[in-house]
């Protein structure tokens, strides 16, 4: 890194036009000869990489893969209610039996969230100016942050399902595995609600052990039960 003032990552962001205006100005004014040589080298590498790729074909493959990441989006919403009724009923019955055998009924919650099982987790959603309650109405473009309240260490994922029935893993973003949660229960990052019409439901899914997020999607989409040892809390926001 001798004589370098800018990291490769910053140089690559510069090539992508993604550098902040302040850093772009700094790069223009302060780049050393070594920085400039590395920038030119990266530019050549980028061009060489793209020459070996059929971008249009690659984009088609990416879009096909993206579809596989949102399986619910391909099914009409009403079909979900026709096919899995038996499974859903069985799962609900099993859940009731499990809860009754495990402990007395949990105390009534404050109505701001729905806890599927126990008191391991409670999802709180913060809007830009206030905490949002279950059933609140929000507008597209609203930025929100998630807080996962609960006293136990473990692993968490935040999953949303929107009005088109598309599911999205919001935290950890796009991941397949839940991530560890520590004492800081306000999760990093914010999301901006899009314009998809209809209610958007957010789920905090928690377990003391790591779990693949795929295994909880049936419970999130209402087509199956939660695996054992996993708790879930839900908040619905109405979009107008």
């Amino acid at each position: 890194m001798a004589d370098r003032r800018f990291t490769d990552l910053e140089l690559e962001r510069s090539l992508a036009g993604d550098l902040s205006p302040a850093r772009a100005a700094a790069l223009a004014a302060e780049a050393t000869a070594a920085d400039q040589a590395r920038l030119a080298e990266l530019e050549r590498e980028h061009a060489e990489y793209l020459r070996g790729i059929d971008v249009e074909a690659e984009v088609r493959r990416i879009e096909q893969r993206a579809e596989r990441h949102r399986p619910e989006a391909r099914r009409p919403w009403w079909l979900r209610w026709l096919l899995p009724i038996g499974t859903l009923a069985a799962a609900a019955a099993a859940l009731v039996v499990f809860l009754q055998s495990k402990k007395p009924a949990p105390p009534a919650n404050d109505g701001d969230d729905f806890q599927t099982k126990g008191d391991d987790i409670s999802l709180v959603i913060h809007g830009e100016a206030r905490q949002l309650a279950n059933g609140d109405t929000v507008t597209p473009g609203t930025k929100i942050m998630f807080e996962a309240q609960g006293g136990k260490p473990g692993f968490i994922a935040i999953v949303g399902i929107d009005g088109s029935r598309a599911t999205t893993v919001y935290y950890p973003f796009g991941a397949r595995e839940a991530t560890a949660i520590g004492k800081d229960r306000l999760l990093p990052g914010a999301i901006q609600l899009d314009a998809t019409p209809g209610d958007e439901t957010f789920f905090a899914v928690f377990s003391a052990r790591p779990f693949p997020i795929d295994t909880v999607l049936p419970a999130v989409t209402g087509t199956g039960a939660l695996p054992p040892g996993i708790a879930m809390s839900r908040v619905i926001l109405h979009k107008k």
Partner: protein, 183 residues
């Protein structure tokens, strides 16, 4: 949400850097190209609703984590060795040093093991610091984070490392040393 044209534009802008990121971790160009596809697919499936960062920052985070996940699965499935061809991605031309490459492979082994359970952003920061040798200032400037945030994330990683080592008896020869020394 994204038209094919805009996806193609996004790809042309960011795919080369993402490929270099993935290649530096998995050490295999075909795997890296597949991971770039996977990165864009996850990004598109999420609907680009993440307001806190630029597309590059989000894509870079996904690519780093997807690459580490790939190595974890590779090790879990077959106990394969990590690829010794894992190429340095930064540092301005130190890639020919065999000691550097050996240290890098060791660091990869350790990071794959030690970052399990961390958030995506924490994994990204840990990889940049301990694998790529970025200073805290360099990470802060590269990812538009405050230096304090980077420091907190690395401190959390160190804490995570200690707990994991205590639980498993693992002794990390390279991760705590890193390759950066900005204090």
């Amino acid at each position: 949400m994204h038209g094919a044209g805009s996806v193609a534009e996004l790809y042309r802008k960011h795919a080369p850097a993402l490929h270099r990121r993935c290649l530096g971790i998995v050490g295999n160009s075909d795997d890296a190209r597949d991971l770039v596809q996977e990165t864009f697919a996850r990004y598109l499936a999420a609907g680009s609703r993440f307001a806190e960062a630029t597309p590059f920052a989000v894509l870079y985070r996904i690519a780093t984590n997807a690459s580490i996940d790939r190595l974890r699965r590779r090790k879990t499935a077959s106990e394969d060795e990590l690829d010794d061809n894992a190429a340095p991605t930064d540092g301005g031309g130190s890639g020919a040093d065999p000691n550097h490459t050996a240290r890098r492979v060791d660091a990869l082994h350790d990071l794959v093991f030690l970052t399990r359970g961390l958030s995506e952003e924490e994994v990204t920061v840990a990889v940049l610091h301990h694998l790529d040798g970025y200073t805290q200032d360099g990470i802060a400037e590269s990812l538009d984070l405050s230096r304090r945030t980077v420091g907190k994330m690395l401190a959390k990683f160190e804490e995570h490392l200690k707990k994991r080592a205590a639980r498993t008896g693992f002794t990390a020869p390279t991760a705590p040393t890193g390759m950066a020394n900005d204090g």
